[in-house]
C-alpha cells in the first residue's frame, strides 16, 4: 500500500512536470519552425529593409534592447542589490520593513502602469519620447525584483558563517560583502538574470516611452526600437512578410536572454566546481 501510494505521488509529480514543460517546448518549437528559416547573419547585422524589398534585419531592435536593458542594469542593479543587502542586514529596522513593503507592492504593479508613470514624468515633461525614458521604466521594474531576490538569497546563508567571520575580527561591512554576499553570489546573479530576462521581454512600459524606431540608432535621447516592440509591430501588421519577421524576432529575443543567462552563469561559476 505504501509503495502504491508512493508510485501514485511520483506519477502525479511527473504529470505536473510534463504540464510545465510541454508549453515551453511548444513555444520553442513554434518559434523555431516559423522563425528559424528567416534568421541569417544579415538578420542580426542589418536594419529593416523597406517594405516589399527582400532581406533586412532587426539590428535596430537588437541594439535598442541591449542599450536600454544595459542602461537599466547599470543604474538599477546596484540599487536593487544594495537595498537587498540593507534589508537582510537590518531586517527589523523600520526603513527595511517599509522598503520591503513598497518593493512587494511594486512587484505586483502591472508593467503598463510603470510605463504610464514614466510617460507622465519623463516623456510628457520633456515632450520627447526617448530610450532614456524606456530605460527608466525598465529600471523601475527591475529594482524591486532584484532587491527581493537578493534579500532572500542572503537569508539562506547560515548565520554560523557570519558569526565565524565576526569572531575572526571582520568588521561588519566586510563580513557582509566578502563572506555573506560572496557565498550567495550565484543566487543573486540568478535573481538579477531573471529580472533582466523579464524586462528584456517587456513591451508595455516601452510603448509610451521608447516608442520604437524604424532606424538603427544609439542616441538615447531619441525614440529607440526594442525587440519586443519590433515583435509587436510585425505581429500586428497586415503583411505576411512582417509576420514571418515577427516570429524570427521573437526567436532572437529568446536567444538574447539565453546567451545572457549562459554568460552570467559562466562568469559566476565557482572556482571549485560543483561542490564549492
Amino acid at each position: 500500500m505504501r509503495r502504491v501510494r508512493s508510485r501514485i505521488m511520483v506519477g502525479l509529480c511527473l504529470v505536473a512536470l510534463v504540464c510545465a514543460v510541454v508549453p515551453l517546448l511548444l513555444i520553442l518549437g513554434t518559434l523555431l519552425a516559423k522563425g528559424a528559416s528567416s534568421i541569417s547573419f544579415d538578420f542580426f547585422t542589418k536594419a529593416p529593409a523597406t517594405l516589399g524589398e527582400p532581406g533586412g534585419g532587426v539590428l535596430h531592435g537588437l541594439l535598442g534592447t541591449l542599450v536600454m536593458v544595459g542602461l537599466a542594469c547599470l543604474a538599477c542593479l546596484p540599487i536593487g542589490v544594495g537595498a537587498g543587502i540593507y534589508c537582510s542586514e537590518y531586517p527589523a529596522s523600520r526603513l527595511a520593513t517599509a522598503t520591503r513593503f513598497i518593493a512587494d507592492v511594486m512587484n505586483g504593479t502591472p508593467s503598463i502602469v510603470v510605463g504610464v508613470f514614466a510617460y507622465a514624468w519623463l516623456v510628457a515633461r520633456t515632450g520627447q519620447f526617448s530610450a532614456l525614458a524606456g530605460s527608466a521604466a525598465l529600471g523601475m521594474l527591475m529594482i524591486p525584483m532584484v532587491m527581493r531576490t537578493t534579500e532572500e538569497m542572503i537569508k539562506l546563508v547560515p548565520n554560523a558563517l557570519r558569526e565565524a567571520a565576526l569572531a575572526l575580527g571582520y568588521p561588519r561591512w566586510r563580513t557582509s560583502l566578502t563572506v555573506v554576499v560572496r557565498s550567495c553570489l550565484p543566487g543573486i546573479v540568478t535573481g538579477a538574470l531573471l529580472a533582466v530576462a523579464r524586462i528584456a521581454g517587456e513591451t508595455a512600459p516601452l510603448l509610451f516611452t521608447a516608442l520604437g524606431n524604424q532606424f538603427v540608432t544609439t542616441d538615447v535621447t531619441q525614440p529607440m526600437a526594442a525587440l519586443p516592440l519590433v515583435v509587436y509591430k510585425y505581429a500586428t501588421g497586415p503583411y505576411e512578410e512582417w509576420h514571418r519577421l515577427g516570429w524570427a524576432t521573437a526567436l532572437v529575443l529568446i536567444l538574447v536572454v539565453l546567451v545572457l543567462s549562459v554568460a552570467a552563469r559562466l562568469a559566476t561559476r565557482s572556482r571549485f566546481g560543483t561542490r564549492g
Partner: protein
C-alpha cells in the same frame, strides 16, 4: 594550581541577558594564562552564552546584552571606546559546527583572519598559513591541496581548519564552543591532543558536554547550573573532591 600570576581573562559579576531573560547570572571567575579552562554543565545552563560574552559575540545575538565586566589583561573589554573588531582579533573563537568559508580555498580560509589585520607581505602569509596548519595537525593532510575548496575536507578536518584559521590570526585567547560535539572519536582525540599543544602559546577556554574531555584535557574546570557558576577550581579537584553537592551530582552522572 596556585594562581599567583594575574589572570589573562577574568569576569566580574558578569550577567548576560537575552531581552529580559538572564542566561548567565553574576559570574565572577578568573582564567590563568596558558592553561586549558573547561566550562561544563547541563544543556541550557548558560555556559555557551558565558563563552560568547568573552569576545563580545553575545551582543551579536538579537536581544543580547550584558552587565558586569570582562577583563582581558586587567582591562574591561566592555568599556566604552573599546574597538570590538580589534578585540575579537585578540580573542579568537571556534564554533560547535565547522564553519569554513565556502567560497575560499583551504589556504585562503587559513589566511582569512590576516586579511583584516595589518598588511603582511605574501611570503610571510604563506609561512603563517603553513605554521598554523602544522599547529592544527592538518598540514600533512592538506599540503597538496591548499588551493582546493575547504568543503572537500571531512568534518574533523574542517574543524581543525577552523582552529588553524583562528590561530593564524595570533590571538591571545582561544574560545572553543563544544568543538568536538559534531565529530567522531578519532577526530575528537586529535583535537584534544591539539589543545594540550596549543596551551603553550594560547590561553584556552572550552565549553564541553563531554565530562571525560574536560577531565582529560583541562587544567581548570568551571561548573555552571541554571545560569549560575556553582564551582570553579583545578580540574583534578573538581573531579575528585567537588565542594558543592550539585557539582558532585553532575559529574557522577546523577543529573544533566
Amino acid at each position: 594550581m596556585a594562581e599567583t600570576s594575574p589572570p589573562r581573562l577574568a569576569t566580574d559579576k558578569l550577567t548576560a541577558m537575552y531581552g529580559k531573560f538572564s542566561a548567565v547570572k553574576g559570574v565572577t571567575v578568573a582564567f590563568a594564562s596558558n592553561r586549558v579552562h573547561a566550562l561544563i554543565g547541563p544543556s541550557g545552563c548558560g555556559k555557551s552564552t558565558f563563552l560568547r560574552t568573552l569576545n563580545r559575540m553575545h551582543e551579536v545575538t538579537p536581544g543580547g546584552w550584558i552587565a558586569g565586566k570582562v577583563l582581558l589583561d586587567g582591562e574591561d573589554i566592555y568599556a566604552s571606546g573599546v574597538n570590538v573588531v580589534g578585540l575579537r582579533r585578540r580573542i579568537g573563537m571556534v564554533f560547535q559546527k565547522p564553519t569554513p568559508f565556502p567560497t575560499m580555498s583551504i589556504r585562503e580560509n587559513v589566511a582569512a583572519g590576516l586579511k583584516v589585520g595589518p598588511r603582511l607581505p605574501k611570503p610571510e602569509i604563506e609561512e603563517i598559513v603553513e605554521q598554523a596548519l602544522r599547529q592544527a595537525a592538518l598540514w600533512d593532510e592538506v599540503k597538496d591541496r591548499l588551493h582546493t575548496s575547504a568543503l572537500g575536507l571531512s568534518g574533523g578536518q574542517q574543524q581543525r581548519l577552523c582552529i588553524a584559521r583562528t590561530i593564524a590570526a595570533r590571538p591571545e585567547v582561544i574560545l572553543l564552543d563544544e568543538p568536538t560535539s559534531a565529530l567522531d572519536p578519532m577526530a575528537t582525540q586529535k583535537i584534544e591532543e591539539l589543545l594540550l599543544e596549543l596551551k603553550r602559546d594560547f590561553t584556552i577556554v572550552i565549553v564541553t558536554h563531554n565530562l571525560q574531555q574536560a577531565a582529560r584535557s583541562s587544567d581548570s574546570t568551571t561548573f555552571f547550573y541554571l545560569g549560575e557558576m556553582i564551582e570553579h577550581g583545578p580540574t583534578s579537584q573538581i573531579f575528585t573532591s567537588p565542594k558543592d553537592p550539585q557539582t558532585e551530582a553532575y559529574i557522577t552522572g546523577r543529573f544533566g
